[in-house]
Amino acid sequence: MTAVVARPSSVDLEPSLGAQTWEMSKRAIIALARQPALVVPSLVFPLFFLALGSSSFARAINLPGFPEVDSYLDFGVAGAIMQGVLFGSVTGAAALATDIENGFFDRLIASPVARPSIIVGRLAGAMAFGAAQTVFFLVVLLPFGLNVEGGVLGGLVLVASGTLISLCVGALMSMMALRTGSSEAVQGAFPLLFILLFFSSAFFPRQTMQGVYGDLAGYNPVSYIIEGMRDIVIDGVSAWAVVRAVLIPAALCVFTVLLAMRSMNKRLARG
């Protein structure tokens, strides 16, 4: 026993990186769960718009350019998941910015917590929320006639896709939070996300759009992710669908997570 006491306590007490990361993610998730006012809009608004669309655009699905689909609900669910995850990701990043604003972040980095766990914890929280959102949308919409052709496997691919998109955008937003340290600036990204969503095939197929608008939607990676997810709902699981729904966000994640880490290091170097 005496030998243990004699050892420097920092070595003894410092939990593993994994445990720290788990604690940080738990904190991020609990923070979300405790603020329904922040969480509920990103769950309700996509459903509201999908409900509107299923009525407003019921006849649009017969237009040339639309895929063979039973209902606008089946067509639009991929866009709704994307909308929910995009807007939900702002919430987590704004919380990170608030941590920076009120000094909690400084306290964290002054503590022996491993640096990566601070940001990784946040992102893990964002991923968990993205997964939960996707499951929520699918479960709520099933009784209203949503038919996922890909079945349970297709559902799992959609959840994986939602999780990765959440990580991808969450990392991007966290980068903004770390760079600016202002929750207002992070929330100011809202219009950008709106544009990212609308200049894509989230609500109507790219094939129905014209001119510059159609071109922009063609350059927007969000279009391809949504189309992959949509194929899984309408046609079932295929390699090409999985590539677009899962691999594109995964590849983007590598990029955005690296950017977030770099911003983290810059902030640490500054402070």
Partner: protein
């Protein structure tokens, strides 16, 4: 109660000071209070710019993404921007009005509103003043969004009369948005009220023929949109972009604006009165 305000002297107090000031009239005090809102356009652009950019982005995004919607048989125009421009304008003007509610919540929280309430202006001026400010903002929003709309392909179908109808609808919505925003600001006195005014206005506007005409939509929304007065207001504002301006497309919107304004004004006055409780 008749008070000769020009010759009245204090019945009490030091007694030597004639009260030479007349009762403050509704109009000048409203202008004074409204000017403050207008001045803040320049002083606090971060609060105004979103209400200008949002309708532009929205009109562009909707007309671009739903470009093909005009091909649905029976759609009343072949330009999607003609359908979505008035929606963007009306949304923007509604938020210009609701922005007054935001300002008022801030004023109540900071205590500045106490100062205004202690002045001898008619209580109605506390409501009509900021409404004037909101109307000026709404004019800026409508004009700007319309000009941008022209650039990206919107066309008037019945000349200036149609444009006039758009202004009538948008200013009407700015007015009812202001009354609604003020009423909730007085009720809640904190930012909860701000969230509720935004959300309710948004829901009310979109549970209408905002996205597609009644004749094209199917299912649950049809029943809701048919009785939603905002469908009438949108019809009033849109008619100059869809065909000729007709009385049939006009009166329903005017009635809707008048009725909602009357109700929200009554609610705002009652709520303002409750600030003293």
């Amino acid at each position: 109660m008749s008070i000769d305000s020009t010759t009245r002297t204090t019945k009490s107090g030091s007694g030597h000071k004639p009260r030479s000031v007349a009762f403050t009239a509704l109009w000048p005090s409203s202008v004074g209070l409204g000017m403050r809102n207008v001045r803040n356009i320049r002083r606090l652009p971060s609060a105004f710019l979103p209400s200008l950019l949002m309708p532009i982005i929205q009109a562009v995004a909707f007309s671009g993404t739903f470009f093909a919607v005009t091909q649905i048989p029976g759609f009343p125009t072949d330009r999607s921007i003609n359908w979505y421009l008035p929606l963007g304008v009306i949304l923007g003007c509604g938020f210009a009005g609701i922005g007054v509610g935001f300002t008022t919540v801030r004023d109540i929280e900071s205590g500045f509103y106490d100062r205004l309430r202690m002045t001898p202006v008619p209580r109605l001026a506390l409501i009509t003043g900021p409404t004037l400010g909101a109307l000026i903002r709404a004019l800026v929003v409508t004009t700007t969004v319309f000009l941008v709309g022209l650039l990206i392909g919107a066309r008037l179908t019945d000349g200036m009369l149609g444009l006039l109808m758009l202004y009538v609808a948008s200013l009407g919505v700015a007015t009812l948005g202001t009354f609604w925003g003020l009423a909730l600001a007085y009720r809640f006195r904190d930012m909860r009220g701000a969230a509720i005014m935004q959300l309710t206005f948004f829901l009310a506007l979109f549970l209408s023929d905002a996205q597609t005409p009644l004749s094209v939509m199917e299912g649950w929304l049809h029943g809701v949109a048919r009785v939603n007065p905002f469908t009438n207001i949108l019809r009033l504002g849109r008619q100059g972009f869809l065909g000729d301006v007709t009385w049939a497309n006009t009166w329903g919107g005017l009635v809707a604006i008048a009725a909602i304004c009357a109700l929200t004004l009554w609610f705002a006055v009652a709520s303002l009165n409750r600030l003293r409780d």
